[in-house]
Assembly symmetry: D2
Homo-oligomer: 430 residues x 4
Amino acid sequence: MSPLAAVAPDPTPDAPPESPARRFRRVRAHSARLAAPLSAEDAMVQSMPDASPAKWHLAHTTWFFERFILAARPGYRPFDADWDYLFNSYYQSVGPMHARPRRGMLSRPTLAQVQDYRAEIEARLLQRLDAGDLDDEALQRLELGLNHEQQHQELLLTDIKHALWCNPLWPAYRADLATVKGAASSLRWLAREECIATVGVPAWPAASAFAYDNESPAHRALVPAHALASRPVSNAEFREFVDDGGYREPGPWLSDGWAQLQTGGWQRPLYWQEDLEHAFTLGGVRPLDPHAPVAHLSYYEADAYARWAGARLPTETEWELAAAPLPVAGHFADDGRFEPQSAADTGGGAPLQLFGDVWEWTSSAYTAYPGYRPWQGSLGEYNGKFMCSQWVLRGGSCATPRGHVRASYRNFFPPDARWQFAGLRLARDA
Amino acid sequence: MSPLAAVAPDPTPDAPPESPARRFRRVRAHSARLAAPLSAEDAMVQSMPDASPAKWHLAHTTWFFERFILAARPGYRPFDADWDYLFNSYYQSVGPMHARPRRGMLSRPTLAQVQDYRAEIEARLLQRLDAGDLDDEALQRLELGLNHEQQHQELLLTDIKHALWCNPLWPAYRADLATVKGAASSLRWLAREECIATVGVPAWPAASAFAYDNESPAHRALVPAHALASRPVSNAEFREFVDDGGYREPGPWLSDGWAQLQTGGWQRPLYWQEDLEHAFTLGGVRPLDPHAPVAHLSYYEADAYARWAGARLPTETEWELAAAPLPVAGHFADDGRFEPQSAADTGGGAPLQLFGDVWEWTSSAYTAYPGYRPWQGSLGEYNGKFMCSQWVLRGGSCATPRGHVRASYRNFFPPDARWQFAGLRLARDA
Amino acid sequence: MSPLAAVAPDPTPDAPPESPARRFRRVRAHSARLAAPLSAEDAMVQSMPDASPAKWHLAHTTWFFERFILAARPGYRPFDADWDYLFNSYYQSVGPMHARPRRGMLSRPTLAQVQDYRAEIEARLLQRLDAGDLDDEALQRLELGLNHEQQHQELLLTDIKHALWCNPLWPAYRADLATVKGAASSLRWLAREECIATVGVPAWPAASAFAYDNESPAHRALVPAHALASRPVSNAEFREFVDDGGYREPGPWLSDGWAQLQTGGWQRPLYWQEDLEHAFTLGGVRPLDPHAPVAHLSYYEADAYARWAGARLPTETEWELAAAPLPVAGHFADDGRFEPQSAADTGGGAPLQLFGDVWEWTSSAYTAYPGYRPWQGSLGEYNGKFMCSQWVLRGGSCATPRGHVRASYRNFFPPDARWQFAGLRLARDA
Amino acid sequence: MSPLAAVAPDPTPDAPPESPARRFRRVRAHSARLAAPLSAEDAMVQSMPDASPAKWHLAHTTWFFERFILAARPGYRPFDADWDYLFNSYYQSVGPMHARPRRGMLSRPTLAQVQDYRAEIEARLLQRLDAGDLDDEALQRLELGLNHEQQHQELLLTDIKHALWCNPLWPAYRADLATVKGAASSLRWLAREECIATVGVPAWPAASAFAYDNESPAHRALVPAHALASRPVSNAEFREFVDDGGYREPGPWLSDGWAQLQTGGWQRPLYWQEDLEHAFTLGGVRPLDPHAPVAHLSYYEADAYARWAGARLPTETEWELAAAPLPVAGHFADDGRFEPQSAADTGGGAPLQLFGDVWEWTSSAYTAYPGYRPWQGSLGEYNGKFMCSQWVLRGGSCATPRGHVRASYRNFFPPDARWQFAGLRLARDA
């Protein structure tokens, strides 16, 4: 039986900090829960080079713990030495790896073998933890490994959504998912004067709070006067853009975006049906909630919408400034809906839905903060080598595990990526 | 329980003709046996656009019976009306179909569902058979459907071989397959004077013996004087070509072949290991038997070898003339080895191994016989529309079900196809 | 001044054989005439990898004489040793070569330099001829070189036609080309009983009459009973196919052809305008003559038309049998129209327009005749290495130099090639 | 005769401002001078989709004046109405356009016709100028058109360099270009404390000094403490990176960069010969000057070098801060060398060679400045729609016309672009 069989409930906000072992069990169990509705065959589909099979996510996250914690001790006997090649994602300094677009070819190991692998590595790791046998560096890598696994939990959902959508039968991941109909909230503009702000956070692990290396160092930046919309753009608002010929006229589009629209035959957001009233979801085809935040936009679409609307995307600094004082509350994967939903305006002038529901494209290209230092060694490959041709998204989505994001969190994707739960919030110059 | 659970043994040559029901059960059971070693995940891999997942083969062959026999009766309720789209291979006149290169995306229906589909259609068909409810045309389509299924049985094996080879772990389809070490037989040349021969066979179903439409009509042809090698080219002989720089010098290659060699980085037959002494087989990596017929050649390689050897490939007419008087005996899939093997020379001057072991590339492009008429209706798409840019192969292989081939049988593949058990036999002008 | 400046008129049919020098001058002058309307820029366009710039044709044909005749003598000093690399087409045994799809990159040498090259090599060759300094082999290569140049003369025309059509301005090669309006001739079927025929011709240079190696040896073949149409299919007839949805229904198409139609967006023959009443010609956009033979068809289109018409393409043997007794008379490039034209029925039961106007696709794949031997040495690469995935065309076209073709002549192109003056003649089984 | 035949010399720095007519004549004459060494054929080569033929540059820059100034007056009769389609680059709001990768297909209009077009539009424009017939907006567009033409002058040089390099003969653009051997200057680090700086310039044409819209508005930015190298990285320094396995180890490379290196087979800077001691230049193959700034780097290579050297690229703000107080002096296209050259250290602590010689890649992605407004109308497509997946370069090069750049000038290219004269200057955190 898996050491995770008896799993603790999620901690409440006020709860004392979890022990590493308890946290390890909890995060790992979330992966198992997400994979539970999938057949061995579902778990093997790779619908495009950018996506990975669910089985691969389950194995790779496990390999990360084995490789970077367990195997760091001399004399360690790997579960299967050949698997380094299969489940190394992109760590060139660790060794060669299976070609990413061919991950869907791997019928062996089977899903059952991968589940055995998970159980065995969990047992080994928990035994080391119980024995007090992990030094500070190993404990830091454990923390990183858990954050890493949470990232793959979100990808597992977005990848399987794309995979099932590629099946002409449009099967559901879970047919029992609830459909919630929300209420509109009117859009307010939240103005801010020019200021000098501190953005980013001190570098972990020197600082105690975990953050990825790309969120550091904390640094001063000048933020011009601007206004930020109180909530994300809704499906109903985006539909106006579609109805107005948004996908037929090149006017508001970036040059690359217009070319991509033509190549890809884009006519509406990914997963929207032709009637513009239904969309494919993890629960199958469902009516679109007009008041919910629009999702599954590429950067190109988000940017074109903003121009069409006479506004612009916010910078990541503007976004972070608005988010920093707020609690990281919102609608996350743990709520089990896996679709963005609308939120009533709670009044009080605070921005809504900065966290959860949809990642928000910013107008900031993904580059290094001033003074940025990648982590040492192989883990330096984690973030830094991708700082090119990608854009920053902020805030997390309905597929992000609760507790994974924070105000300083920087997600990034290429401008043509549509399969994430990515939407937008408008901004404008003051 | 599947209606096939209790299966009769293969008929002996002298046995009286099988009943359609018994034959149906026997052929269908062979598919089930071939699929038995495969996990649900193995059965879903599609390693290249030319290949199909095993699950798809199992479903498509079943759909063929349902669509062309059961559904021909008015009022028939299909097992699942949506599956027409999934399991139609290329019958444009039946309706649109799922894109061939995307067959590996289909995690649903699952293998278990496909097996249920097989059982249900088998039950329906056997019930119709038992009730004496199939007219002549339906019985003919049953015969065609069985031959069709046998073709896919061979493809299931060659496709899964390719799929497993694409896995960096090189797993075996069945690790328990025997390795047989054969003996050399010296090569003799069998000469024939110019003659006028009848090739091809009368068109079925007007004629009682089953044959594909592309084997008809029987027609007269003038065959020039020539000599045919007594056996296929062996691994040892082909290795001389490799050792002599066969893959490094353009001299004997067709222009397209040399271009393909460079694009594909070809340095030896597909599945041969770099040491030229081992090869990937359905039993995993095994030593190459030097005396066994060389296999997994493209037309380009077979043709280049023949030129290098100062000979040529035989025409399909030359081949058929040699094969017509012989019994269809040899080493087939039913022997359960799934690798070509050598054969001792039995003396008496007859050519050896024309049937079984390896398909033999001929120098004949796949075109229509004089007077060729495709079958009527949708089934006219079975063969005729592929008469372009392919070459004829003859004789069957170690993956062909016994009883499926005959002297007039015309297999065909594009010149760059290497994943079939395809080798060659030399010929020369008199 | 070029040694060709004063050029003799074409010989009349009854004239005594030309001297090699006179013939050399005459053939070379035809190339110069064809190139005369082209600017240096026109002469450099390469509109697709299959086509070559006119400048390249002019240089390559000259290189052929230099390399295979002049350079065969020890101590020869090449015009420019670097040009071997530029103007070698595909002779692997001669050495490496510039990539075919990059021929349009060669701004240097300039057209003027290439014309100097032509003049210089002509002078050197004529000087050797005058001096009686060419042995039999050299004289044979001269004959081959002249036939080779004639082939490139036709390609120069079809390539420049494609190049100018790719220019959105649709400029004319020569705006002064005449438009001729022809008369219809009704279609007759010419029947023939089964027979044994001799096809092909004795191998040159052992035989005195020039022929390519692929036309030999003369050999016996059994030709089934069949009927051949008296003339090629006309534009009006082909338009019926278009109007009947010929490009919208997959029924009569080869599988590869239908795929190509979709990929290429084919809706009508190449160069036809959308109104189906005009076409781009070397004289610019002109009205289509409904009675003229349809041209610029791929094999796929020719074959689909024939099936739609309830007929088939003739085999190359059937075609050769009909053509062998006839004089090689027709409408060729020397007539200076460069478009197919209709021909009145002259009565008497003979087939019309077998020679000239349009190449006729046959149902014969381009393969070796029984007993085929490529020429020795590098020239063995001339024809033999292309015997794969191509189809035979017969009879020459309105772009072929008069005197270049004969009844045994085998042209060949891949099935998707549309930029040649290629049409079809129907045949049917008896 | 062209109205430009008698051309004034370049103005000296202290000269009074040129009249628009004089400036127009001078800038246009520079294009003519640059094109003079090119044959009609040279002027037609397009060696890759990113590059354009010289003829196209000559025509497009002329079309810009015609379309945006002359044709703005009602009733204007265009030189050739069809040419809008040919010479519109990317202005979707003007109308459809010829596909960029097919510009090399345009043998018509000929170079001579394009030169006539230039002369005619120049005459028309000068006549309007002389007549005092251009309003303020037209005069602004004239200024823009001249800057636009200067950009294309640089591209003409970099595009023809690439085109000639693609010719296996490696011909020179001008064989008479001088080779200058420079002297080394040691590298100093110029430190700067954190500050708030104003970057960018007021928006033209509201402001009187010309600048592109992407350089505006002037805005405040916080610049962290840092140090900037006193001069660009030299060939000798970059060669150390190559010798140290820089192109063999993935360590310092961006993930996309390493993939591109493998796809493109990169082993050294573009144009460097295998011996690492010579390079292809516009004067043919020449010895590399070890002290000259390294050029023809992609962003990937510049970034990898900086990491290997333990430094980083400067941000565009850091660069602009250093450049703003300096005169725009340096080695530009007007010097007629068309290769970067070394510069002696003049002492005094100022940074060297910020202007001219090589564009310097910065670590700043090309995005909008806060408050950015594209120009109104079609000219809004000039810069803004390219703000995606590109990086900013600063300072101009040896192919930039003197007077074209300034401290605020933002050039931009995708990260894999190597054919510009692009190098780098190191920076580091304080």
